[in-house]
Symmetry: none
Subunit: 239 residues, 2 copies
């Protein structure tokens, strides 16, 4: 995983700065750099909540170059995407694509956010290795800066997670559950010509719901009991 | 695509409310409902930016039931996930999984956000068809409410960009299916103290699998027949 540095260039609103710090801590990041920031006051502290430490450790750089020192990748964020080839420097990737592309990188990735009212200037945009735009409604595509940051960090965090599934039922359990369903079909004298299709349907539904071990055991209990009672009913004759 | 309704239950901070409205407009949503909200004042208007219209059209409901009227799916958001099987009602999906599952649904999906300091209470959590938790650093997993909302809406927006909808079972059909399962539990003399939990489990599993109309009818047929036979068996005495 790369090391992520969040760089806020000329933030105007310290409430936003606090909110960015909080989101950083939510997603396990801690390197925050400001370039020519507004005063970082009480509102920042309030909105940072339990991430005041991130705020306090933040570094203030006087130039963009200083903020980008030792960064291996420079990533810009932009509220406006373009498919216009002449403005190709503004052609961007989605946060998801960005997270996937960057996931295997070593080194430091600096993610830049421009001023709330202005974004990044063209010079800065040209320096970026990636430009990331969050897909949004063309009618109002400009997100609040801390929300844009949160979404990008969320994508980085989730792409980095090796998703484990400790509580999923095993393949063997799934097979068993399907067998019990099949037995229930037998027990209720389900029409022979429809059995196969219905078994496949149940298997697909269960697979889609990705049951936990506990859910598997509970369902199996219900199906088993229903099958037993239906069978006893059948064996006693018609109804 | 389903119709999305954002429901804020007892929001405490009107700045957050404004920020949620802005994010909604960023992601093309406009149905906002409050239950017993704080005063929605200047800070809300300021943070809503160009989404003041969303804020103004928001509806105030006096009860949760009123806010959830005509909702086909109820979705809770929770800052705390659990792998603890005993607290299964708190087992949740990620925003991405949620967006994928809901993408093809028809009808209205109500997404609930609880109080900033408290979240949703247990009764409300139990009523939910889905519980969504944003993966985050276990050291500080609690996101600001408007950031949590933005991430979930972002996932819905991006998943909706590429997906088309096959015919999914309606809410009425889902309710019917759950009723038939409930009747089956009665018919097999399922332990009274486990019924509630098992009904919630089945509802969640089915919601996760997002059944088609055909699957719904087929499952209902099986459950109905099994219940009838089990009942006849019971009425004939012990076994």
């Amino acid at each position: 995983m790369p090391r992520i540095r969040i760089v806020l260039i000329e933030p105007l609103n310290d409430g936003n700065v606090g909110a960015v710090a909080r989101s950083m801590k939510n997603f396990g990041l801690d390197e925050l750099v400001f370039v020519r920031p507004c005063e970082i006051g009480e509102e920042a502290t309030k909105r940072a909540m339990h991430a005041v430490d991130v705020l306090k450790r933040a570094r203030i750089a006087s130039t963009e170059d200083e903020a980008l020192e030792a960064a291996d990748y420079i990533v810009g964020t932009s509220g406006v995407d373009t498919a216009n080839e002449k403005k190709f420097s503004r052609i961007s990737v989605t946060p998801n694509e960005f997270a996937e592309k960057i996931a295997g990188c070593e080194g430091t990735v600096a993610i830049l956010f421009g001023r709330e009212d202005f974004g990044l200037d063209n010079d800065m945009v040209r320096r970026c290795d990636f430009l990331v735009t969050i897909p949004a409604d063309p009618e109002y595509p400009i997100l609040n800066i801390s929300h844009a940051a949160a979404i990008i960090m969320y994508e980085l965090f989730t792409s980095g997670l090796v998703r484990e599934s400790p509580r999923k039922a095993s393949e063997l359990e799934m097979v068993k559950l399907n067998e019990f369903f099949s037995k229930l079909l037998d027990a209720i004298d389900y029409p022979e010509h429809k059995k196969k299709k219905t078994r496949v349907m149940f298997r697909r539904m269960i697979a889609r719901s990705v049951p936990s071990t506990w859910e598997f055991h509970t369902m199996m209990g219900v199906l088993d009991e229903a099958a037993k009672r239906s069978l006893q009913d059948s064996s006693r004759g018609k109804h």
